[in-house]
Structure formats: C-alpha cells, structure tokens
C-alpha cells in the first residue's frame, strides 16, 4: 500500500514544527532586548526606527523570563536543527519526487477561473483536491513556505550574524544591510506564524483526525482531503 505522506515528509514536518515553535518563542525573547526595527546597515536610535515592536509577554517566550543569553542559546542551537533538517527534507523530496509530483504547479492550474473556484471552495470549507494530492492553493502556499519563507529565515539570520556576514558579505548587501536583514527576519517570522495559524485552522476544518493520522502514520495514498 502506498503511503499518502512519505516518511521523510512526516519526520521533517514534525521536527520543523518543533523548530519553528522554539525559534519563534526564543526569537520573541531576543526581540525584547531591543524592540525596534530599522532599514539599512546601521540603526540604534529608537527615534529612527520604522517599527516599534511590542514587548512580548513571558508566557510566549523561551525561557519564560527575560534572558537574552539563554534565548540566544536556544536560537543558535535550533537554527542548526532547522537548517539541516530543511536541507535533508529538500534532498529527500527531490529523490522521492515529492516536489515534482505534489508541489510543482502545472500551467493549466494558473488560470484565473479555476483559481477563483478554488478560493471560493475553500471559503465554503470544501477541500476536495481533484485527482492530485494537493489543490492549487495548497501547492502555492506550501511552495512559498518551503522555497521562499523558510530559506529566507536562514539567509536573513546569517546576514545578522557578524561572523557569517564577514564571510558572505554579498548576502547582507543583497538584503539591504544588517538592519534590513533583521527587519526581514522579523517580517518573515510573522508571515510564517500567520501561515502556521492558517494551516492549523484548515486542518481543524478539514477532518483533523484523518489529517493527523496521515501526517503521523502516513495514511493511504488514495485518501482524499
């Protein structure tokens, strides 16, 4: 029997979920150290910030009190797990054709009418994927997360790090400077948090029991939803 989700997909999904939660919660603690965002290379005066970030309450930070030192420990440790597991998942998904088979959109999917129909079906909470494993909106959102947002977290994180920046200065310059990279790191984290909340809501609305069973045990290939 063919599994609906490959083992590599399932392992990475849950490991990545853990990484994102730990990185977000430790990141919010780090943000509390200087909750202002700037554009360009330099920035240290709150009056020149483009955004004043709210101070995050302790129940949503790791550790559960303000500690920049310990929050950074969690962040730099899970940065490795996050980046290496994403790399391993990408290599496995090229090899087992998960990307080619399930995530690549076809030209015929990029037409206005079917896309509108797909959006309208989602709004009416009907989630049938016609033949393919994922519908167009799923392919698009998973594709943006896997190929844009997650790599952007790693690249902006490297551009913030003075050691990596000395080695790969082109990266920080391409992102508009260290403080711009820090701003993009923050915005991308917010986008990923938004995706995760939407993702969880849609799982809850589309048969959470079956979805969870499939992402843990693998499920059956011919299973819908």
């Amino acid at each position: 029997m063919k599994k609906r989700h490959a083992l590599a997909t399932r392992l990475w999904h849950w490991l990545n979920a853990l990484c994102l939660i730990v990185l977000l919660m430790s990141g919010l603690n780090i943000s509390n150290a200087h909750p202002w965002l700037y554009w360009g290379d330099a920035g240290f005066q709150p009056a020149r910030a483009w955004a004043a970030v709210p101070r995050f309450p302790h129940w949503m930070t790791i550790p559960d009190h303000y500690s920049l030192a310990v929050a950074r420990d969690w962040h730099v440790l899970f940065a490795w797990i996050f980046a290496l597991s994403l790399l391993a998942f990408m290599l496995a998904s090229l090899r087992n054709r998960h990307f080619a088979r399930d995530l690549v959109t076809r030209r015929r999917e990029w037409r206005v009418r079917p896309i509108l129909a797909d959006i309208s079906a989602h709004l009416r909470l009907r989630f049938a994927a016609h033949g393919a494993k994922y519908n167009f909106l799923q392919k698009l959102s998973y594709g943006v997360v896997i190929f844009v947002l997650l790599p952007l977290m790693i690249l902006t994180g490297m551009a913030i790090s003075p050691g990596a920046d000395a080695a790969w200065g082109w990266l920080g310059q391409a992102l508009g400077g260290r403080q711009s990279a820090r701003s993009i790191h923050f915005i991308t984290a917010a986008a990923l948090t938004g995706f995760t909340i939407g993702h969880i809501l849609l799982v809850l609305l589309s048969g959470p029991w079956g979805q969870m069973r499939a992402m843990i045990g693998g499920g059956r290939r011919d299973e819908q939803a």
Partner: protein, 245 residues
C-alpha cells in the same frame, strides 16, 4: 477556558518546560556544540581570513553610542583623564618571551590601521564608526608568543556591576588583520564613553567582545583563573564565548 487562555496556557507550558530543559547539563553541552559548529562554519565558508565589511566615510553613524561601562569612576582613572592619558600603559605578558609595557607614544608610533566598520550589539542594534590603532598581531609578534599560548585575554580598568570587565579570543582572531587596539574614533581621541584611551576592535564578533579601557593583554594556555573561567565578563553571565552569531 476561552481560546486565548488555551493558547496562552499551551505556549506557557512550552515556555516553562523549555526553561527547565535550558537549565540542564545536556542542554549546555548541546549549545556548546552548536556554538563551536557556527564558528567552524563561519571560518569554513569565508576562506582562511575573511574581512568584515568596511564602509565609506558617508556611512559613519552620528554619535557612536556608548554601551555597557561608559566611565571608570575611580581616582586613578580620573588622574589619567586629567593628564590626557599621557601616563596610561598597556602591558603585554603571560606566555610571551619578552613582556612589554607600551606607552601611548609607543602605541601611536606603531604602524596604524584605520577601518570603518559596523559594530553589532548582541541586543540587535548596529552603529558604524571609523577606528584607528595598531594591529594586535604585530604587537604579539614583538612580545613573542610561547608555544603553549592558545588564547589572548584582555584586562580592563572598568568594573561592570562591581566585577572587573575582561574578554578573550583565540589566536585566529588575535592575528586577524582587522583586530586592532583602537585609540581613535572617527578621527578624534577615543571618548571616555567608548573606552578611552584604548579599546579592542574584534570585528566579526558582537559588541561585548570589544573590551574597553584596556590595561593589559595576556597570552594564556587556558581561560581558567580569569573570572569564572568562561573567557569574559558576559560569558560568565551565560553569553556565548564565540560571539560571531
């Protein structure tokens, strides 16, 4: 229980659990491994000696911020300040063949390097400034490092929260061309709030490594015996020794 409370209690449980895990020895071990791996990766991807980016004069930040210690309120320092730091000395000792005691004139007489670099604080902010001073490498060569020397420890005049500030780096960073003993900032003498009369510039690492109010440089085989043995004032308070990230 409403949904908001449910979310708060789920995340709160996660936060509290991670706080407990964060206090265990295996977690500290894993963090040390991650820190070392970052250092190795940074040095691997950049080749043997990548330079931190240097900026044009137009990029210099107005009013370079003073952070951490911004003064040394002792009678001895006040006397140096009144004398324009003419009698300040920098000792170079430890595992060296020829201990040195450099005057400010000695330091100004060495070949100088001027660099406009970005200072990145661990808190997240950055400021750009021009620094001038002799490279540390040739000073260490003049003193002659003994084969056992593995780290350079920087002693400072300032106390922060009542404890002496100090820092350290490995020999790769000590001999990096941008590692200088700065005595000038943006073309003027180093201001008191920025570490007068001498401070370390250890580009490629975070601000807390750039020790201010330097009094001595010591070559050592081990970081034990200084502070709590973690290699620096902030390192003794839980921060990472390799501050390249």
């Amino acid at each position: 229980m409403n949904r908001r409370n449910l979310l708060a209690s789920l995340l709160g449980t996660m936060a509290a659990g991670c706080t407990r895990i964060g206090e265990t020895a295996p977690f500290a071990w894993a963090v040390d491994q991650a820190e070392g791996l970052h250092r190795i990766a940074h040095r691997a991807i950049g080749g043997p000696r990548p330079l931190a980016r240097e900026y044009p004069p137009s990029a210099i930040s107005a009013d370079f911020r003073g952070n951490g210690s911004t003064d040394v309120p002792t009678p001895a320092y006040r006397a140096h300040q009144a004398a324009g730091f003419a009698n300040w000395r920098l000792s170079v000792g430890g595992l060296v063949e020829r201990p040195l005691s450099l005057t400010m004139a000695d330091i100004r007489g060495l070949p100088q390097r001027t660099q406009i670099t970005r200072h990145d604080c661990v808190e997240g902010w950055s400021a750009i400034a021009q620094w001038t001073g002799p490279q540390l490498g040739p000073i260490l060569d003049r003193a002659g490092l003994l084969p056992d020397a593995r780290f350079i420890v920087f002693r400072c005049a300032d106390l922060l929260y009542g404890a002496p500030y100090y820092e350290s780096c490995d020999l790769a960073d000590a001999f990096h061309p941008q590692t200088i003993i700065a005595h000038r900032l943006n073309g003027g003498d180093l201001p008191v709030k920025n570490g007068a009369p001498l401070r370390l510039r250890l580009e490629r690492q975070l601000g807390y490594k750039h020790a201010k109010y330097l009094t001595g440089i010591q070559a050592v085989a081990s970081l034990e015996g200084f502070g709590d043995g973690n290699g620096g004032f902030w390192e003794d308070r839980g921060y990472q020794w390799y501050a390249g990230i």
